[in-house]
């Protein structure tokens, strides 16, 4: 399978980038510990670990978009992609090669966040494994979004759009930092039209063992993942043709 050496290369480049450790692992962990410390000192229930840990895993996954978009944008700019387009690699090989290696990275990031959650009082249960499983479509959504952005934007633009804008959107509109009903109105309506809060509600329900509560959120997540993946593939093919 020709996609495998390419996937291996993508994994190596991402894992060797110090930014992966800082943003992918360090930042979510700092947030979990920091917000738990804040919770210990405030009278209201805002950052309780059963909701905070799954919420932070989803927030952390938004960095997968940055990783996938950055590597594609860099490959386009350095002409490495142009070189590889003249080899027998097919469009499918490229898409698999960019997508597959990031899924285990995303799951490892979630696992570390849950491990930190356990240290801070999250109950150890099989639901954590289920939550990891349900994080896969969320990961696919974020990775596909990276594929899409990397096919359109330059490396510099990717840093701003995926690194700053998207992570903020994912943070503010996912209900991690505050209950969206506290703001309500149009803000809440918009948030529930986007996948972030559905992804958080989905994994929170799973962690709580409330499997009936995964609906309708699972449909939103799967729908967004599917649509983003199709759009990403089409845009990738378009830029491949434009080469």
């Amino acid at each position: 399978m020709r996609a495998l050496p390419f996937a291996k290369r993508v994994a190596r480049e991402i894992l060797r980038d110090p930014g992966t450790l800082v943003f992918g692992l360090g930042f979510p962990l700092v947030l979990i510990f920091l917000l738990t410390a804040i919770q210990a000192n405030i009278p209201v229930s805002l950052f309780e670990i059963p909701d905070l840990a799954p919420g932070i895993t989803i927030f952390g996954l938004s960095f997968m978009t940055l990783f996938s978009a950055s590597i594609i944008a860099k490959d386009r700019e350095s002409s490495l992609l142009a070189r590889l387009y003249t080899t027998p690699l097919t469009a499918g090989d490229f898409i698999l090669g960019y997508t597959l290696p990031i899924v285990p990275i995303a799951l490892a990031q979630c696992a570390v966040c849950y491990a930190a959650g356990i240290l801070l009082g999250l109950n150890i249960s099989v639901n954590i494994l289920y939550a990891l499983l349900f994080s896969i479509p969320v990961s696919v959504f974020f990775i596909a979004l990276g594929l899409l952005c990397g096919s359109i934007f330059t490396d510099k633009q990717v840093g701003g759009i995926c690194g700053a804008l998207l992570t903020n959107l994912a943070g503010w509109l996912s209900g991690i930092w505050f209950d969206l009903s506290l703001v309500g109105g149009l803000f809440q309506q918009i948030a529930y039209l986007l996948p972030f809060v559905h992804a958080v509600d989905l994994v929170c329900a799973v962690i709580a063992g409330n499997f009936a509560g995964i609906f309708p959120h699972i449909w939103w997540v799967l729908g967004y993942a599917a649509v983003t993946l199709v759009a990403a593939v089409l845009l990738f093919l378009r830029q491949m043709k434009k080469q």
Binding site: R2, E13, E77, A82, T86, T87, P88
Partner: protein
């Protein structure tokens, strides 16, 4: 048989004609250089011949395979060393070579043999374990050419292979390119006249997407009534071919 034959190959981008009815033949084993000012159409020609961009009109045949209808077969014949170094910066030199071996589906044994062969040919031993992104421009160019040679291409495209290199690195790379002559048909684009003169069997000069002339260095000088290839180039580009 010709290694490359183009028939009225044309590429237009909206109102701009990047390559205009290019017709030429390049023999097997020949080192053919394309010269021209910026925007002359050299890189677009290479992109079409290497199936990176589709022609608007016309066709080209590489060992008889059409770049329009038989791209998979053409891709098996060619390799490209693009204008930019096009290496994976976070991988070591060896890992870059392994990547290309993997893409071509080489066995472990073939991969090791090929890497040993190319390491020796391009003198990459001393940097084999270094990250490609940390290498100087000259070493990255060597690696880029090694990556292009892995698949044992019958036609090798070198797009501005010595661009931005210092005199010493350029001279070393010339030696490497000379050593490849006869092993593959090489099509090279360059802005350096002395490079084209030193390496080429024949030179094609392009201007505004059109091939003005295509001949040996001596014949070009004679046609232009010039002492040097640089003078010949300037005369042909400014005054045309009489």
């Amino acid at each position: 048989m010709d290694a490359v034959r183009t028939e009225a190959l044309t590429k237009t981008y909206k109102d701009v004609v990047a390559v205009d009815r290019l017709s030429l033949s390049i023999r097997q084993g020949e080192l053919f250089s394309l010269l021209g000012l910026n925007g002359a159409g050299k890189t677009t020609t290479i992109k079409m011949l290497s199936c990176l961009t589709a022609p608007t009109r016309g066709d080209a045949f590489l060992h008889g395979k059409s770049i329009r209808t038989d791209t998979a077969a053409v891709k098996k014949l060619i390799a490209v060393s693009p204008q930019e170094t096009a290496v994976a910066p976070g991988l070591s030199v060896r890992e870059n070579l392994e990547l290309i071996c993997g893409v071509y589906g080489f066995s472990r044994e073939k991969q090791d043999a090929k890497i040993a062969e190319l390491t020796a040919l391009l003198g990459l031993d001393s940097v084999l374990l270094k990250k490609a992104g940390k290498l100087s421009g000259g070493w990255q160019r060597r690696l880029s050419i090694a990556m292009a040679l892995i698949s044992e291409p019958q036609i090798l495209f070198l797009d501005e292979p010595t661009l931005g290199l210092d005199v010493l690195a350029r001279s070393e790379l010339w030696e490497i390119i000379r050593s490849l002559k006869g092993k593959a048909t090489i099509i090279l684009t360059t802005h350096y006249m002395e490079e084209a003169e030193a390496l080429s069997d024949r030179i094609g000069i392009m201007k505004d997407g059109r091939l003005l002339i295509c001949d040996t260095v001596d014949a070009l000088k004679k046609t232009a009534g010039a002492e040097s290839i640089e003078q010949a180039f300037v005369t042909i580009v400014t005054e045309g071919v009489k």
